[in-house]
């Protein structure tokens, strides 16, 4: 495939730092779009604020860069107004689960056919490396210089508990799986979440040495610390400490919001 067919080449170079994982996720999304043969005119890519938020600017779709944390709410209106659009939301860990946490869980509950891809790099990159809801306890950020006293969210578990139709997690090292999960999520009816572990060498890597400082080192850290779900189920909590558990957490065929609302329309018209 020709990636350039999907990119706004005049908007290059992009703003992502050397070694950032976000470009890997974007390529994965574009490969899936190409495989599915979706028309560019029928795709809307919606984002919030942050490094992930800049993704729509680079792709030749209908693109919408909204306010911080609110991308899913804009996407909800857009999808309902034009159900023919494939609506993809890209969001960061802070965007999706801190400021946008309420929209995230309610979108999962509502189960409207929107595909969310969370670029999880455990930090606020755009603003210079502050602690996020997925920065683990004791880890360092510019706002946790003595180590993070907070606990981290497990984004996939959050999506599962809130009712999403499809939930999976991969990393920017495990790209084949990332492609598969994104593809399956796009083909699932209802709200889907793919959590893509990304890496931020500029901020997270610099402050938390164990992951390595360069993009390559951080990728190798993902490789060495990933545990597939099936294997993880046989391991103890202590053994799983600091590991990335990847795999498909939810894959359900259940009525989505549009289907339920069609029934509302039917009932209303009969009365």
């Amino acid at each position: 495939m020709d990636y350039l067919n999907y990119l706004r080449q005049d908007k290059m170079p992009h703003i992502w730092c050397d070694g950032c994982g976000h470009g890997i996720i974007l390529k994965s999304i574009l490969r899936v779009v190409d495989q599915l043969g979706w028309e560019k005119n029928n795709i809307a890519l919606v984002s919030g604020i942050g490094c992930s938020g800049r993704t729509p600017g680079y792709v030749d779709f209908n693109t919408l860069h909204t306010t911080h944390g609110r991308a899913i709410s804009f996407a909800t209106g857009l999808k309902l107004a034009n159900p023919k659009l494939h609506v993809i939301v890209v969001s960061g860990d802070g965007d999706a689960t801190a400021i946008g946490g309420n929209h995230f869980i309610h979108a999962a509950r509502r189960n409207l056919d929107i595909n969310l891809i969370v670029f999880n790099n455990n930090i606020y990159g755009m603003t210079g490396g502050q602690c996020s809801p997925t920065t683990k306890t004791t880890k360092k950020a510019t706002t946790t210089p003595y180590g993070n006293p907070d606990s981290a969210f497990d984004i996939s578990k959050l999506a599962e508990a809130a009712g999403a139709s499809y939930v999976a997690r991969s990393t920017t090292y495990h790209v084949a799986k990332l492609d598969k999960y994104i593809k399956d999520s796009f083909l699932t009816k209802g709200f889907s979440v793919v959590e893509a572990y990304s890496s931020c060498p500029t901020s997270y890597g610099k402050m938390n040495k164990e992951t390595g400082k360069t993009g390559l080192q951080m990728l190798m850290y993902q490789k060495d610390n990933t545990v597939p779900l099936q294997k993880a189920q046989k391991m103890t909590q202590a053994q799983l400490e600091g590991k990335f558990i990847t795999g498909v957490f939810v894959e359900k065929d259940k009525p989505d919001y549009t289907e339920n609302y069609a029934k509302v329309i039917q009932t209303a018209k009969q009365q």
């Binding site: 919606v46 609110r70 857009l78 107004a81 309420n102 929209h103 009932t267």
Partner: protein, 380 residues
């Protein structure tokens, strides 16, 4: 024999707003429950599905504002309704709608504040929030009905102005008007003027979503119509992509400002009552202008010469109309259910050329005709 006119009804202000939205072509509502605006959502939850439109109750006020903007980009005519606390929450995304030039209508049925304030009682204290609630410099259209029938016509006007100028429009009503039930004649839908956004007619490569045109309002393509463009809340150039260029930023922000300010004669609406022979002018809006009118009727019977300038458009401000009218009188009375938010604007518009008497309530109690009458009588 009297033939009953089926178009004449007794109707509540909030219900008239919902009915008018449908008449204006609204096919999308997103909201969050809040007193005293909830009837608007309730009526539309019943009626929108019948026409195949979308009603959605969102998880919060912020999401409701996001959803109406998203729906507008998808081609819908969208509406949300709220009151003070919810209006505060919507402000960030109202700024986005201004910046991204997405038409939508926001109804604020005002109640007492600050904070939770007086949820079931009326106020007019969001005049400045409606002007400056979102951050950054901008212009905005805010219109304000003073009856149930006006609520109907002004809801349609709000949709028309939002489509015409590609901008969010705020319908600033209040608890008294929202919950008032009175006579209304519903117009024949064929007699209503309905304005829809101008669509691009060029090919995709030539389309500039934020082009500086003579009208200052560039055509708007809906997502999915083949014009793949970029929408952002960042400062952007004609293409819609972000820019930090000082010249382009100024050009864009001034166009957003001027597309409203330079068309103020098309937007600003005031109503005069009894202004031919007067020495006292009352400037009022919303429910308070009803009390003012009654006070004037009573005062006229007693020989006082009082006129009314009722503001139908709050922003842009009717400074020209007020300045002209002020020349004809020797004092101005401004009754309002706040501590003088419009009175200060009147002082500025008239350069304090005439004494301005303020009548202010902030306790949820309406300003009565007798109260205004007492002020008319003072010093005369």
């Amino acid at each position: 024999m009297i033939i009953p006119n089926k178009n004449i009804k007794m109707m509540q202000g909030n219900i008239a707003c919902a009915e008018a939205a449908l008449a204006a072509g609204c096919n999308f509502f997103a909201g969050y429950p809040i007193t005293p605006s909830s009837e608007i959502a309730e009526v539309l939850s019943k009626k929108l599905p019948i026409i195949g439109g979308n009603f959605i109750q969102m998880e919060d006020e912020i999401a409701a504002m996001g959803a109406v903007i998203g729906a507008s980009l998808g081609g819908a005519k969208s509406l949300t309704a709220t009151s003070g606390p919810g209006f505060s929450l919507k402000q960030e995304n109202i700024g986005f709608a201004i910046m991204a030039e997405t038409p939508t209508v926001i109804v604020n049925v005002q109640r007492g504040g600050p904070s939770t304030g007086l949820p079931t009682l009326s106020a007019q204290a969001d005049v400045m929030q409606s002007r400056w609630g979102t951050h950054g410099d901008h212009s905005i259209i805010v219109i304000c009905p003073s009856s149930v029938e006006e609520t109907y016509y002004m809801t349609i006007k709000a949709f028309n102005l939002s489509e015409k100028y590609r901008t969010p429009v705020i319908l600033l009503t209040d608890e008294i008007i929202g919950h008032l039930t009175e006579k209304i004649e519903i117009p024949d839908s064929s007699k209503l003027e309905i304005i829809n956004r101008i669509k691009p007619d060029m090919n995709q490569k030539e389309y500039l979503p934020y082009k500086i045109t003579d009208s200052l309002v560039p055509p708007m393509a809906n997502f999915g119509e083949g014009y793949r463009y970029h929408v952002t809340g960042l400062a952007h150039d004609e293409t819609g992509f972000p820019t930090n260029d000082p010249e382009k930023t100024t050009e864009m922000l001034m166009r957003l400002y001027n597309k409203i300010e330079k068309h103020r004669d098309d937007i600003v609406e005031v109503e005069e009552y009894n202004t031919d022979d007067m020495d006292t002018l009352i400037i009022a809006y919303g429910s308070t202008s009803r009390s003012a009118k009654r006070a004037i009727v009573n005062a006229t019977k007693e020989g006082y010469k009082v006129g009314l300038l009722s503001l139908k458009t709050i922003w842009p401000f009717a400074e020209k109309e007020i300045e002209n009218m002020a020349k004809k009188v020797d004092r101005i009375i401004v009754p309002e259910m706040n501590l003088g938010q419009i009175a200060h604007e009147v002082e500025w518009a008239t350069r304090r050329a005439k004494p301005i008497i303020k009548i202010n309530h902030i306790n949820g109690e309406p300003i009565t005709p007798n109260e205004i009458l007492a002020y008319i009588k003072q010093g005369k």
